[in-house]
Amino acid sequence: MIPGPFNYHRPATVADAVKLLASLGDDARPLAGGHSLVPMMKLRLATPEHLVDLHGVEGLKGIRRDGNRIVIGAMTTQHELLASDEIARSAPILHEAALLIADPQVRYRGTIGGNVANGDPGNDMPALMMTLGASYRLEGSSGARDVAASEFYQGAYFTALEPGELLTSISIPAPAAGHGYAYEKLKRKVGDYATAAAAVVLTMASGKVATCTIGLTNLAETPLSAEDAARAVIGTGLDAATLKKAAAAAEAIMSPAADARGPVEYRKHVGGIMVTRALTRAFARASS
């Protein structure tokens, strides 16, 4: 399988990349790790006339601490995320989730920016970013703006990115020390997208859940924040009745597609189970 012909561009700066994307318009696509785009091009489901390869752009890589925030460059690979002490220390849920993405070869190439910017409901990082309260830096020819992950996703492959804009970095408020976290992902095999997945970040006070956020992957056209489910567990010791209530509240907002991963009812059912497991594991990990 060979992709259709295209012109290859390799800018060296964000300004040049943005200028190219703006001047080439709809016929151009930015190329990050390429592990979503290149397979689509080989199937001729994507036929961009221009690819703007971001591998030569300085300043799009790296993980740094900026006060209370963790800033991750868009071209940081999943492999680099897994190798980062800062991530392991400050936001270990990203470490746990990255290990469940694709396989080692894909993680050497696949980037966090591509994962969150593509708008594929099957991608894992978007729901995690919503759970962590992250924001995305978008840069275009008219300047830069920050958009919350919770405001970014509009539909399958539809995001807040305007034509010519590039997602350049992700900024995450560091979760509180001693927080509990878990990402539970049901998949058919290594490398698969989620049949259903749930992310939980919570903090505890005096043996009760003090704060909680829950994100859901591949259970709707966009990642979801399960707010009612999270509210249901706050102030509780996460007894069986509460877990059941939270799972039901999460299931109520799921609207997965029926596909090779299963019919709608099944995916909602296992979605509820993922929420239950993630809550249970996050609770056990949190220090009171």
């Binding site: 399988m1 060979i2 992709p3 259709g4 012909p5 295209f6 012109n7 290859y8 390429g34 592990h35 290149v38 397979p39 091009m41 080989k42 690819l51 390869d53 591998h55 492999h79 290990l99 694709a102 396989d103 080692p104 070869q105 894909v106 050497y108 190439r109 290594v190 490398g191």
Partner: protein
């Protein structure tokens, strides 16, 4: 479409060629360089048969464009043997432990396992299994491939290979 001139170092030798931007790295290696040890399996980034080592990373060469590898260093299965032509520890492991049947996945398996053992020479069995999870084998059930990599790891670490009790 205009062709681009690329140069790269493949298995230690400088090579060059003219490629269309859409030429996949695996096609450049197999067709331009006539090195057919790197196999094309699924062509959809699943099977890992096309795995090569690109600047210290295991990559599926069916999902990288040759123009993106301009200026890089690549190792393929043709470059893994010892300098004197004798089998590398991994090649020997695959031979001794019967790590292949049809052999189609073997080049990708060995190139991937080589990077895995460079990054973590004392990989546990679980780490080896996760480490080769991007490579599919339809013959062996992976048991002997894992043993082959364990054999190589022991040899690299200078210890005697001991098989776990069944």
């Amino acid at each position: 479409m205009a062709k681009t001139h690329v140069t790269m170092k493949v298995n230690g030798a400088e090579v060059e060629g003219l490629v269309e931007p859409r030429t996949l790295l695996v096609h450049f290696i197999r067709e331009n360089l006539q090195m057919t040890g790197t196999h094309i399996g699924c062509e959809t980034t699943h099977c890992g048969a096309c795995t090569v080592d690109l600047d210290g990373m295991s990559v599926k060469s069916c999902t990288v464009f040759a123009v993106q590898a301009d200026g890089s260093e690549i190792t393929t299965i043709e470059g893994v043997a010892n300098a004197d032509g004798s089998l590398s520890a991994l090649q020997e492991g695959f031979r001794m432990m019967h790590g292949l049947q049809c052999g189609f996945c073997t080049p990708g398996m060995i190139v991937r396992a080589q990077r895995l053992l460079m990054e973590n020479p004392s990989s546990t069995e679980a780490e080896i299994r996760m480490g080769i999870s991007g490579n599919l084998c339809r013959c062996t059930g992976y048991q002997n491939i894992v043993r082959a990599i364990q054999y190589a790891a022991a040899k690299i670490n200078g210890v005697e290979f001991q098989e776990a009790a069944e």
